[in-house]
């Protein structure tokens, strides 16, 4: 599970480099998210534009990543591909996260 991170306008942008977050990678994803969000900006955006598939284990790991950041910090999502958007919609987790169409929109919203 490879994640990369960069800071833009005091937002920690984390990009998932693998094309799936599933039962085989969910635990590593969550651990890697913990490592990348323990310090730094309170506002984190997870760029999922390169991810074609998330199963319920992957969804659970994304939720866990937000919970482990603690209150007062924020995890937004950006760039959901159609099948990933479907998982969030069906489970109603799309009402829990702020979801941006893409990273440009996420950064613009934060700046404006």
């Amino acid at each position: 599970m490879q994640l990369t991170c960069a800071t833009h306008n005091n937002i920690n942008v984390i990009t998932v480099e693998d094309n799936r977050i599933d039962a085989a990678s969910a635990i590593r994803f969550k651990d890697e998210m913990r490592r990348l969000t323990e310090d730094g900006p309170a506002h984190v955006v997870l760029d999922l534009s390169g991810v074609a598939f998330v199963d319920s284990s992957g969804l659970g790991a994304i939720v866990a990543s937000m919970k482990q950041m603690g209150d007062g910090r924020r995890l937004d999502l950006a760039g959901l591909t159609p099948d990933v958007a479907k998982v969030f919609r069906l489970t109603r987790m799309d009402s829990i996260f702020v979801i941006h169409p893409d990273m440009a929109a996420a950064l613009q919203r934060a700046a404006g």
């Binding site: 085989a24 199963d55 659970g60 209150d71 159609p82 099948d83 479907k86 998982v87 489970t91 009402s95």
Partner: protein, 148 residues
């Protein structure tokens, strides 16, 4: 009589593997490419891959829990009006030998109480039209039917 187009995949195909997370991933990828080659549209392909992935994860995590990972067979039947996927494993039976209900975990309340699991059966029920489970001769058979 018109010949069957040679480029179309066989309407009925089976894969057998060992139920581990990595093998499940490979199986779901094989399924998705098979459906793609068969001309199943992207949205339905995504729904089938997700539902089958959840069912396979259940086999890995529950049917073969506390024992060595065992075999799972996936059969895909491409019919004119639907796609049928059948999963057979030799693990333990689903408790009560009946399908768990389509229960969506409650995501109301504070962030610390948000559910991190329990979505699997809800997704399976939501994504396929007919779902049947049988337990015979030490084997579980789960059939998922998706209208085209």
């Amino acid at each position: 009589m018109a010949a069957t187009a040679p480029s179309l995949p066989d309407p009925l195909i089976s894969w057998c593997t060992t139920a581990t997370n990595l093998h499940v991933r490979d199986l779901v990828e094989s399924l998705a490419s098979h459906l793609d080659e068969a001309g199943i549209d992207r949205d339905l392909r995504g729904s089938i891959a997700l539902a089958v992935s959840e069912a396979l994860n259940n086999i890995t995590e529950h049917a073969y829990a506390d024992r060595a990972p065992g075999p799972v067979t996936m059969t895909v039947d491409l019919l004119p009006d639907r796609v049928d996927v059948t999963l057979i494993d030799s693990g333990r039976a689903i408790p009560g030998q009946d399908l768990p209900p389509a229960h969506l975990p409650d995501s109301a309340g504070p962030r610390s109480n948000l559910p991190e699991g329990g979505f699997g059966w809800f997704l399976i029920h939501s994504l396929c039209r007919d779902l049947t489970y049988t337990r015979t001769s030490g084997q579980n058979t789960l059939s998922l039917r998706f209208p085209r």
